[in-house]
């Protein structure tokens, strides 16, 4: 009986002999391991399909043979494997398949099932490419692979895994709202695809606090710190125009005005409405517009025109007592400025004494594809200078 190199899976055309468990002249019982073969995808032991004597080894250890080539001959073995012979070797192929050329072979063995191109649907191929699923890793059920198989693999499996992990932990299950889904998708994409870098600066808030107190006593109301920060960032982008840019895939867009988005927290997520041409507006008009946008955002009445575009965002968690934090860029923008809380901090004065001043730490996150370190530093400095001389912003 001729033993041939078995099929080692679809698209595998040859196999390597790892080890012969038997030598020429050895008696071999049916089902006994005969040799081990491997391909670049798998390795498997091949069992003797019938009892007999190993009369010839044609392919030595470490040598490679094409699938279907005779690798050894088992003398005295029944040409028809007896009923007691275990099915040799694991699927998909039978290693005992004899080449059709040998004399008295009754008929060609059926070809092993091979998952060819035609058995993966065009839709499945497209979805697999989109979702980064390796088609060779799909279990071979024998049925054609459809789009539904790919969707099941890409969606259901990880979610099921997480749920399984917490099956014994008491919990509630919330469905994902469309806003939460959008936040998850966009920020994952931002963090994965935008090369962020971060830089922080301390900003003296004394002059701004003084100005706001004056305004409050004179006018009765005054713009918020966020409104001043928006105005200062817009002015800084005008002074450092190389930072007033976004990455557009095949080009860089440099803007002639600064549209600044502001993160507005909602009960179940956040939105980032945009103040258009913030540099051309006063802090008080920005403050009023911001109030209107935030109100409408919380009522769910924002239109896409209210939150699309923008070059930079501002996120202020200072009122929640956060000292400093790093924010994720809101694509397709290139910058986001994170404002921390106003804190009283000790500082050495010119005469060597220690004074306490109001300071805020701001942290800039920048897209390094379009903004380099020095540009970011210049922008941060320009922002600080303006916010520390707030009279110029009015």
């Amino acid at each position: 009986m001729n033993i041939v190199m078995p099929s080692l899976g679809a698209s595998v055309s040859e196999g390597k002999i790892v080890q012969w468990f038997k030598a020429v002249g050895d008696e071999v019982a049916a089902g006994e391991p005969l040799l081990e073969v491997e391909s670049d995808k798998t390795s498997l032991e091949i069992e003797a399909p019938a009892s007999g004597t190993l009369s010839e080894i044609r392919v030595a250890e470490d040598d490679i043979a094409p699938v279907g080539e005779i690798i050894c001959i088992l003398a005295g073995a029944d040409e028809q494997p007896a009923e007691t012979v275990e099915a040799p070797a694991p699927p998909p192929a039978s290693p005992t398949a004899e080449p059709p050329s040998t004399e008295d072979v009754p008929g060609d063995p059926a070809p092993p099932p091979v998952r060819g191109r035609s058995q993966i649907s065009p839709r499945a191929r497209k979805l697999a490419a989109e979702k980064g699923i390796d088609l060779t890793q799909l279990a071979d059920t024998g049925a054609p692979v459809t789009g539904a198989d790919i969707l099941a693999k890409s969606n259901a499996v990880p979610a099921a895994d997480v749920s399984l992990m917490y099956a014994d932990t008491p919990h509630q299950r919330h469905t994902i709202s469309s806003m939460r889904g959008t936040i998850a998708r966009r920020l994952t994409e931002a963090k994965q695809t935008i090369p962020h870098f971060y830089m922080s600066a301390e900003i003296d808030l004394g002059p701004l606090e003084q100005l706001r107190n004056e305004l409050r006593s004179k006018v009765g109301e005054c713009p918020t710190v966020t409104a001043f920060a928006i105005k200062a960032l817009a002015e800084a982008l005008r002074a450092v125009p190389e930072a007033n840019v976004v990455w557009a895939g095949d080009s860089i867009l440099q803007f002639e005005r600064a549209d600044i988005a502001v993160a507005v927290a909602l009960d179940d997520g956040l939105l980032t409405p945009v103040i258009r041409d913030a540099g051309g507006k006063t802090p008080s008009s920005i403050s009023a517009e911001l109030k209107d946008l935030a109100t409408r955002a919380r009522q769910g009445r924002l239109q896409p025109a209210d939150y699309e575009g923008g070059v930079a965002s501002i996120s202020n968690l200072g009122m929640h007592g956060v000292g400093r934090f790093q924010a994720i860029i809101n694509p397709p923008q290139a910058l986001i400025l994170a404002l921390g809380a106003s804190e009283r901090r000790p500082r050495e004065a010119d005469d060597g004494s220690v004074q306490f001043v109001s300071q805020m730490t701001v942290t800039l996150s920048a897209d390094h594809r379009v903004v380099d370190g020095v540009t970011g530093a210049n922008l941060l400095a320009a922002f600080g200078t303006r916010l520390q001389a707030p009279d110029g912003l009015l």
Binding site: S121, P122, R123, A124, R125, K126, P144, T146, G147, A148
Partner: protein, 326 residues
């Protein structure tokens, strides 16, 4: 709302348009005194008189030639070719004249006519009286081709065909003349070039015209009951223009498509549809598009042999089941 047979709906549609517009006339073999060999024009002569309902000699060329002349000089004729098969006798008008007139005269001469034909098989009339000739007509730019499957669609699409400024081939199905359906009261005018989803489904799309529509609907019910396969059934209604938007959207939902055609396999309308789907929705497909057609043979005369040629409910079920299981 009234229950009408398909043949009564033809007469109602013709009457609706003749009553509306004095320029609409009817001509053909036995359409007037006899009320049509399929009784589809019963009562037209009595109601509109011999000047507007004309029996013609047995000459298909004369029928279409005079219809074309009438159309070019201001009338809106409805001409009947008794059996669709006979259109071969007067094919020059179909292939070379009707659809090209407006184009070749730069719009100075129009050809607003309708040619009604009894199309298809299922009534054991033999190889020369049972053919489905959709693809004999739909290949010529300038011609529109309509093939309704229900009485209500007959009235509405016939009205739309008469009112269309271009020549329209109107294929009535012989095997459906006796079928009944609800037809709304009052004037009905449909839109050419629109397909209808008659049964929504999620697993595959069956696209059919004429007698293959009720068979596809029956097959869909059987597929659901016996195999849990939920098939969407689309009645094309109009082969030219073709409502590709509805077809492609359906394929985008079901990812599998079957055409159900009464015509022989080679160059049937389904080949054109499959080609469009391959061009525009290839990556929506979860399996090869399948054409369920008559084999490429002349249609047999004995009913039991004819039934083997024309796709049956059982054949449709089996083709869909096998293809989805593969």
């Amino acid at each position: 709302m009234a229950q009408l047979t398909y043949r009564e709906a033809v007469a109602r549609g013709i009457a609706q348009e003749m009553a509306r517009d004095e320029d609409v006339v009817l001509l053909g073999e036995d359409v007037a005194k006899a009320g049509g060999v399929f009784k589809a024009t019963d009562g037209i002569l009595e109601r509109f008189g011999p000047r507007r309902a004309l029996d013609t000699p047995i000459s298909e060329q004369a029928i279409l030639g005079s219809a074309m002349g009438a159309a070019m000089t201001g009338l809106k004729p409805i001409a009947e070719i008794m059996f669709g098969d006979f259109v071969a006798v007067c094919y020059d008008f179909i292939a070379n004249e009707f659809g090209k007139t407006r184009y070749m005269t730069d719009g100075q001469v129009k050809c607003p006519l309708v040619v009604r034909m009894a199309n298809g098989g299922g009534v054991a009339f033999g190889a020369q009286h049972s053919q489905s000739v959709e693809n004999w007509c739909m290949q010529f730019p300038g011609l529109k081709v309509v093939a309704p499957s229900s009485p209500a669609d007959v009235v509405g699409l016939l009205a739309a065909a008469v009112r269309d400024p271009d020549p329209v081939i109107f294929l009535e199905h012989k095997g459906l003349y006796g079928t009944r359906g609800e037809v709304p009261d009052g004037e009905i005018v449909d839109t050419l070039g629109t397909a209808k989803i008659l049964r929504p489904g999620t697993d595959c799309t069956l696209i059919a015209v004429g007698m293959m529509v009720p068979r596809s609907l029956a097959a869909a019910e059987q597929l659901k009951a016996d195999f849990g396969i939920d098939a969407e059934v689309i009645d094309l209604r109009s082969l030219m223009p073709l409502d590709t938007r509805t077809l492609l959207a359906s394929v985008g939902r079901t990812h599998r498509v079957f055409t159900v055609e009464e015509n022989p396999r080679v160059l049937g309308w389904g080949a054109e549809i499959v080609s469009i789907i391959a061009d525009e929705a290839f990556f929506d497909l979860d399996g090869p598009p399948v054409r369920i057609t008559a084999p490429h043979v002349p249609i047999s005369t004995p009913p039991h042999l004819e039934a083997l040629v024309i796709p049956s409910v059982e054949r449709i079920v089996e083709a869909v089941r096998q293809s989805l299981a593969a």
